[in-house]
C-alpha cells in the first residue's frame, strides 16, 4: 500500500485542505514513510482481539431531558467571523444560474 500524489489530492479533498505541488510531493514522501512504519502492526495476529475504543470501562451516561439555560445568541455569535443580529453569515450555498 503506497500513497501516490493522486491519493494525497483525494485525501486533501476529503479533509477540506489544499496543498501546493511541492507540498504534495513532500507529504506523499512523509506519509509513505510513516505508513510504512505503521505497517509494523501487521506482524501481530489480532484475529480474536476486540477493538478497544476507550481506555477505561465506561457505561452510557443517561440524564433527564430537562430544559436548562444555555448559551445566549449574543454569546454564541461573539466569535463569528461574519454575522448579522441573529445569525452566522456564510457565502451563498445555493447557486443561481
Amino acid at each position: 500500500m503506497s500513497v501516490t500524489i493522486k491519493d494525497v489530492e483525494y485525501i486533501a479533498k476529503l479533509a477540506r485542505l489544499k496543498f501546493e505541488e511541492d507540498e504534495k510531493e513532500k507529504l506523499c514522501k512523509e506519509m509513505n514513510q510513516i505508513l510504512e512504519y505503521m505497517a509494523k502492526l501487521n506482524e501481530l495476529d489480532t484475529e480474536n482481539i476486540e477493538p478497544l475504543s476507550h481506555p477505561i470501562e465506561l457505561n452510557n451516561v443517561f440524564r433527564e431531558d430537562e430544559i436548562k439555560q444555555s448559551v445566549s445568541t449574543e454569546e454564541a455569535l461573539k466569535n463569528a467571523p461574519d454575522k448579522d443580529a441573529q445569525f452566522f453569515r456564510v457565502p451563498k450555498i445555493i447557486n443561481v444560474e
Binding site: 485525501i11 505503521m38 489480532t46 477505561i56 467571523p81
Partner: protein
C-alpha cells in the same frame, strides 16, 4: 525571591506576614517580563495583581480556599472565560472563550491566581514546542535546546520560576516529556480522572489534564482539587477521589516493576545510570523489585499515531470558518471558504496529522489501519493489566535522551514521533504516570524518571514520588 518550597509553606509565611502576596505576584510578573526571551507565555494577565490583596485578606481572616494565593499558569488549550484561547494556532487567533473549563472553575473556587496562558505546540501536536504560531519556547537550561512539547511553555513557566504551578495536557507525553526536559514534576492522571470540559479536543480517548510543579506535595494538592466526576464530561469517572495531599506517606513498601523493553538500545547511558542509581537506593530502603515484560511496547508508537491522528482529523473538522475562528476574505463560495480558511489557518504539523488521520479512516484503509490499531491498543492495555497483577508501580525513563537541539528533528516527522517511545503507551492504556526530576547529565540538562501505576492509583504514584523526594534519593 521564592522562599518557600511548597504551597503549605507559602500559606504559613503569608499568615506570619513573612510573605506579601502582592509582592509575590509582582515578583512573578517581573520574572515573566525579564525572561521574555524564553517565550513561555502567549498571554499574561497583569490584572491578576488585583486579586492578590483580596486573597491575602482572605488568608489572614482564616477563611480561604485550598489553593489560596497559588500563582498558576494555564496552557493555551484550556478555556478561561473572556480570555483568548488560541491553541497556538492561526485558526483561533482571535478566539475568546465564553465559559470556564471545569478545571479553571475549580482553581478559581479554591482562590488560586491565574497569571497567564502558556505557549504550546499547535493544538498540542508536537514534542518540541516548535509548532506554535507564537514561535519556539526555549529551554531555560540551554537556550539552544527545546523545552519539549507539547506543553513546553507550561514546563518552562515552572522551571524558570515564572509561577508556582502550571497546567498542561497530555495526549501521548505532552506533560511528562517537557517536565523531564525542564527538570520539574509533571503528572498525567488516569484517563477520566479529571474533566475535559473546556479543553480543546485533540484525541478525545487520550487527552488528560494535569499539573507541573516543583514538589510532590503541590502536585498532590492540585490533583485533590481537580479530580472528580463532572456532569459536563460523560467520560469523567465517578471513581472516588482520595485526599492525595494528606495521604502521601507509604504504609507499606511497594513492589516495583522494571520493564526490560524500556531499558534497551536507544536509551541514553547517563539517563539509564541515573535511574539505576535511584533503583539501588530504593532497594537499600527495602523496596522489592521485579523484572517485568510489556511485550507489545514496540508497537505503541505506530498504534498511537494511527489512533490519535484519526481522532484529531475528526475533532478538527469543526474548524470550518463558519461559526468561529479564521475565515479568508471574500470566499468565492462555501467550499472555497472551508478549504482556504483551513489551509491558511492550520500549521504544517496539524495538516500532516489531519491528512494521516483522514487516510487511516478512509474507505478501504479503515480496517487495515484504524481497526487494527484499536485491536493492538487492547493488547497494549492487557500488557499493563498483567504487569500490575504482580507489581504496584513501574519505573521507566521518561525520554530516551535529554533535551535535544532546536531544529534537530523538525524535518523528520517520524524521528520526532519516535521521541515519544516511553510515554505513549501510558495514554493507550489510560493509566496515570508522573515525571520526577532525578538529576542532570554532563551538559547540565535535566534527567527525568517516570513512575506508572494502575488506573486510578494516583495515590501510589504520589507516595513513591514523595518517598524519593523526602528521603533525598535524588542526585541533584
Amino acid at each position: 525571591m521564592i522562599n518557600y518550597k511548597n504551597h503549605r509553606e507559602k500559606i504559613d509565611k503569608i499568615l506570619k506576614k513573612e510573605i506579601s502576596l502582592q509582592d509575590n505576584v509582582q515578583y512573578f510578573l517581573n520574572r515573566i517580563e525579564e525572561n521574555n526571551n524564553l517565550n513561555a507565555f502567549n498571554f499574561v494577565f497583569p490584572e491578576c495583581i488585583d486579586k492578590a490583596k483580596e486573597i491575602e485578606n482572605k488568608i489572614l481572616s482564616g477563611k480561604y480556599g485550598k489553593l489560596a494565593g497559588m500563582v498558576i499558569a494555564i496552557k493555551d488549550v484550556l478555556a478561561i472565560k473572556d480570555k483568548p484561547l488560541t491553541c497556538s494556532s492561526n485558526i483561533l487567533k482571535n478566539f475568546v472563550s465564553i465559559y470556564d473549563a471545569t478545571v479553571i472553575q475549580k482553581l478559581i473556587k479554591e482562590d488560586a491566581i491565574i497569571i497567564g496562558k502558556t505557549n504550546c505546540d499547535e493544538f498540542a501536536m508536537g514534542s518540541s514546542n516548535e509548532n506554535s504560531k507564537f514561535g519556539n519556547v526555549l529551554n531555560p537550561y540551554d537556550n539552544t535546546r527545546v523545552p519539549g512539547g507539547s506543553s513546553g511553555g507550561s514546563a518552562v513557566a515552572v522551571a524558570a520560576d515564572l509561577c508556582d504551578v502550571s497546567f498542561g495536557t497530555d495526549t501521548g507525553g505532552s506533560i511528562r516529556q517537557p517536565a523531564a526536559f525542564c527538570g520539574v514534576f509533571g503528572l498525567k492522571p488516569t484517563y477520566g480522572r479529571v474533566s475535559r470540559y473546556g479543553l480543546t479536543a485533540f484525541a478525545s480517548s487520550f487527552d488528560s489534564i494535569g499539573p507541573f510543579a516543583k514538589s510532590t506535595e503541590d502536585t498532590a494538592l492540585i490533583l485533590s482539587v481537580i479530580a472528580g466526576i463532572d456532569k459536563h464530561d460523560s467520560t469523567s469517572s465517578n471513581n472516588p477521589v482520595t485526599d492525595y495531599m494528606n495521604n502521601l506517606e507509604l504504609n507499606k513498601k511497594l513492589t516495583i516493576g522494571i520493564p526490560k523493553e524500556y531499558f534497551t538500545e536507544g536509551l541514553n547511558e547517563e539517563i539509564k545510570n541515573s535511574i539505576f542509581d535511584i533503583i539501588d537506593k530504593l532497594k537499600n530502603n527495602g523496596f522489592e523489585f521485579k523484572e517485568i515484560t510489556l511485550p507489545h511496547n514496540q508497537y505503541t508508537i505506530a498504534t498511537y499515531y494511527i489512533l490519535t491522528t484519526a481522532e484529531a482529523s475528526a475533532n478538527l473538522a469543526r474548524y470550518d470558518g463558519a461559526r468561529y475562528g479564521y475565515r479568508i476574505e471574500n470566499p468565492k463560495n462555501l467550499l472555497d471558504m472551508y478549504i482556504e480558511s483551513r489551509s491558511k489557518g492550520f500549521g504544517k504539523e496539524v495538516k500532516r496529522r489531519i491528512m494521516l488521520g483522514t487516510y487511516v479512516l478512509s474507505s478501504g484503509y479503515y480496517d487495515a489501519y484504524y481497526k487494527k490499531a484499536q485491536k493492538v491498543r487492547q493488547l497494549i492495555k492487557n500488557d499493563f493489566i498483567n504487569a500490575f497483577k504482580s507489581v504496584d508501580v513501574i519505573i521507566t525513563p521518561t525520554t530516551p535522551t535529554t533535551a535535544f537541539k532546536i531544529g534537530e528533528n523538525i524535518d523528520d516527522p517520524l524521528q520526532m514521533y519516535l521521541n515519544d517511545i516511553y510515554t505513549t503507551s501510558i495514554n493507550l492504556a489510560g493509566i496515570p504516570a508522573i515525571n520526577i526530576p532525578i538529576g542532570k547529565d554532563k551538559n547540565n540538562l535535566p534527567i527525568g524518571m517516570q513512575i506508572l501505576a494502575n488506573q486510578f492509583e494516583e495515590d501510589k504514584l504520589l507516595q513513591m514520588s514523595y518517598f524519593i523526594e523526602k528521603n533525598r534519593l535524588l542526585s541533584h
